[in-house]
């Protein structure tokens, strides 16, 4: 019996070790599943997204790739002008929160896969004025002069975001 146990010990050790490795692999896969391939990736969602919007390449870059930052015809001034009707009045002190709209600009300068994040002034998830938020989102969707970014002469798809500092009624500032 003792001999048997001694013979079995290495097997038990290997079995435990394999089980431990298996557990680690399983845990690793569980953790991996919490993250997209890259932070901020936006996958196509049939319930939300326009099926006619397509990205041209497998990889979607970030807006800062290539070192040119925000690229919109007429620059930031054109974006501010687009939202001008929502930017009347409102002191900075009346900040109530932030609305961020993230989206993809494809290789043709078209936009899609819009996602919205709303947070209060302490950066907690929040529901802000729904009418103002939906107006902002519709107006973001209507921005149609995004520059086509290029990498080594090839047009790329890229993620862009716009964040709106808002008061109860108005946009106070637009970032980035």
């Amino acid at each position: 019996m003792r001999k048997f146990l001694l013979l079995m010990l290495p097997s038990l050790f290997v079995a435990c070790s394999i089980s431990e490795q298996g557990k680690q692999v399983q845990e690793s896969q569980e953790v991996a599943n919490e993250y997209p391939a890259r932070v901020g990736d936006l996958s196509f969602d049939a319930d939300l997204d326009d099926p006619n919007f397509e990205v041209c390449n497998n990889h979607v870059f970030q807006y800062y790739y290539g070192g040119k930052g925000l690229q919109y015809k007429g620059e930031k001034a054109a974006i501010i002008q687009h939202f001008e009707s929502l930017m009347q009045g409102g002191a900075i002190a009346s900040l109530v929160g932030f609305v961020t709209v993230r989206f993809v600009v494809n290789c043709k300068g078209k936009t899609g896969r819009f996602r919205v994040q709303q947070m209060d002034k302490d950066y907690n998830e929040a529901s802000l004025d729904s009418s103002l938020v939906s107006t902002i989102v519709e107006k973001v969707k209507a921005l149609d002069d995004w520059e086509v970014k290029k990498v080594r002469d090839q047009s790329i798809d890229y993620y862009q975001y716009l964040t709106f500092k808002i008061s109860n009624q108005n946009i106070l500032e637009i970032m980035p």
């Binding site: 953790v31 993250y35 932070v39 800062y64 930052g69 620059e75 002190a93 950066y123 500032e173």
Partner: protein, 270 residues
């Protein structure tokens, strides 16, 4: 001696912001630090985020660096809720090393002026003297604080901070102080002081369209038509040569765009 102090100050600051020296940690936190500082995929990649999680499992309350680094891609990509949750953990562990960074980011990415001021003032209480520089290296944090007051419309405080900062014995010219001081004077209707400050900016760094643009506005207010037009045209030339305030992530305070210049130049020809 002055330069030695500046060098020591810069080294101190870089130590606060850069990769930690893992030998200063012990036990699990040392292992965690070694994991966190090893390369593992690009910033924001799944493997990189998992690496920081592994490190934080080992040392959940002692490694601010891992929280801060894990937070960075959320900041750059517009998920400010997640960023804030993570950066708050970093600040709680290491306020001295992280408050300036959090304050700067709130200013740069969210234009959350009051929150940025609160962070920077808290840092000043912990670290009297040189509170350090912005993450992108472009600003002393005192200048960032002054810009926050400017944006809140509290011009007296903005001027006081920048005047004290630029006249301190330890002051070393940085990239844009006098440009912003000039703009603040202009907003406060102190036109002569604005011109002096903007000229100082030109002496220090003559590579920004903005300096000429605001100088032109100052001369316009003084009804010096020739100098107004001359400087505005130079602003246009500089702008078209790509010489302007620029940051790859965000639009900088007091940055101009071509339409602002052309709203002047086009009116001359009409």
């Amino acid at each position: 001696m002055k330069y030695l102090l500046l060098l020591l100050s810069a080294i101190h600051f870089l130590n606060l912001m850069g990769q930690p020296n893992c030998n200063t940690f012990e036990g699990d936190c040392k292992k965690a630090c070694e994991i966190a500082t090893k390369p593992a995929g690009g910033q924001g990649s799944r493997s990189s985020q998992i690496k920081f999680d592994r490190a934080l499992e080992l040392c959940p309350d002692g490694l601010a660096y891992a929280y801060m680094q894990k937070a960075v891609p959320y900041l750059k990509r517009g998920d400010f809720i997640t960023w804030k949750q993570l950066i708050d953990r970093a600040v709680a562990i290491d306020p001295l090393g992280q408050l300036g960074y959090r304050g700067w980011c709130r200013f740069q990415f969210l234009r959350d002026y009051q929150a940025a001021i609160d962070d920077l003032q808290q840092l000043e209480k912990l670290m009297p003297g040189n509170i350090g520089y912005s993450q992108n290296g472009d600003y002393h944090l005192k200048t960032a604080m002054a810009l926050c007051y400017k944006q809140l419309g509290i011009l007296d405080s903005a001027i006081l901070i920048l005047e004290n900062h630029t006249s301190a014995k330890s002051y070393e010219p940085w990239a844009y102080e006098f440009l912003h001081l000039g703009v603040i004077y202009l907003e406060a209707n102190k036109v002569d002081q604005a011109i002096l400050a903007l000229k100082k900016q030109l002496d220090a760094n003559d590579y920004l369209a903005e300096t000429y643009y605001y100088l032109a506005l100052a001369y316009q207010q003084k009804q010096s038509d020739l100098l107004y037009k001359e400087n505005m045209l130079r602003a246009k030339d500089f702008y078209n040569d790509g010489k302007m305030l620029f940051d790859v992530y965000t639009t900088m305070v007091d940055a101009i765009d071509l339409t602002q210049i052309e709203s002047h130049t086009n009116s001359w020809t009409n």
